[in-house]
Symmetry: C2
């Protein structure tokens, strides 16, 4: 079915009032920012665009993104902050101060009961190379590319237990055929 010919229950044409809306980020709480940042910077190559501290409320926010080759990030802090909040596809990690020191503290991944949030997903240029890289990094797999019903789809866990899907766009072309 062609894109513009497809109909889905409930869907209305995008109203003019929504012009310029874009999905900026997804926020997940992280127990220990040092551990989470080590993971997302090394395993997924994300960079911290902006860290915001809220002393009164005792939390910090980290806004992460994959910076594309040749992409210019504003050096000036205020300019970079505004730039950050106009992007697409960022990850925000919230650190409530002190959780990293509580041995039995853990966040809920959304896949155990009660269910809700499912996962975030990275698109990668080479799925096999990514899987080999995850092995180098000793990442915890939920499902390797060759396992389960959905071939060519990887699921790993981040340090807080959140699921991360990993796919290669052109390998997904036949999905749903």
């Amino acid at each position: 079915m062609s894109f513009n010919g497809e109909q889905h229950p409930g869907v209305v044409p995008a109203p003019g009032n929504t012009q310029g809306f874009r999905l900026n980020h997804t926020m997940l709480r992280a127990k220990d920012p040092e551990v989470a940042l080590a993971f997302y910077s090394r395993v997924f190559g994300m960079r911290v665009l902006r860290k915001l501290d809220f002393e009164e409320m005792q939390f910090s926010l980290y806004f992460l993104a994959n910076v594309e080759q040749g992409e210019a990030i504003p050096e000036d802090t205020r300019e970079r902050t505004a730039w950050t909040f106009g992007q697409k596809g960022l990850l925000e990690l919230t650190h409530n101060w002190g959780t990293e020191q509580q041995a039995d503290f853990a966040y809920h991944d959304g896949n155990a009961e009660p269910q809700g949030f499912g996962h975030i997903c990275f698109s990668v240029p080479d799925l096999a190379a990514a899987q080999a890289w995850f092995d180098v990094c000793n990442v915890t797999f939920v499902k390797r590319a060759e396992q389960g019903k959905m071939k060519d789809v990887i699921f790993v866990k981040d340090p807080d237990g959140y699921w991360i899907e990993v796919i290669q766009a052109d390998l997904m072309a036949g999905m749903g055929d």
Copy 2:
């Protein structure tokens, strides 16, 4: 602090192995796709790029995006599927068949206990206009722009109760000053 001069605990420089990685989507489970699609298409102007049905496993996936003015979406289904999985900033809604018919069924928003996932966030060109639009749409507010400690930040709820933050990029420049 300049972008390239900032250091954060745990962060390492992006390894070459992660080149081309991008955050493609966030998956949330939705009880009733007709209700959720009506909400995301009308209130936030998202379009369904691709719907995938998995009859054997009894679920459907909807991949939604804000299509920018002049952005060309491939009409051909396979081409569009591959294109979809190479984008940034999509929302995936998972519908497990039948949940819409269970009166007492509800997903967990991640903000009530047990906590984990926090919210998704849309960046909009005009926050005041967006807030007026949400009023027209009878959207449920968690926090209006003028309420609370964080001015110029709106939080609303989607039909499943997930929180959605709404911001205007240039109004955020001073955040963290």
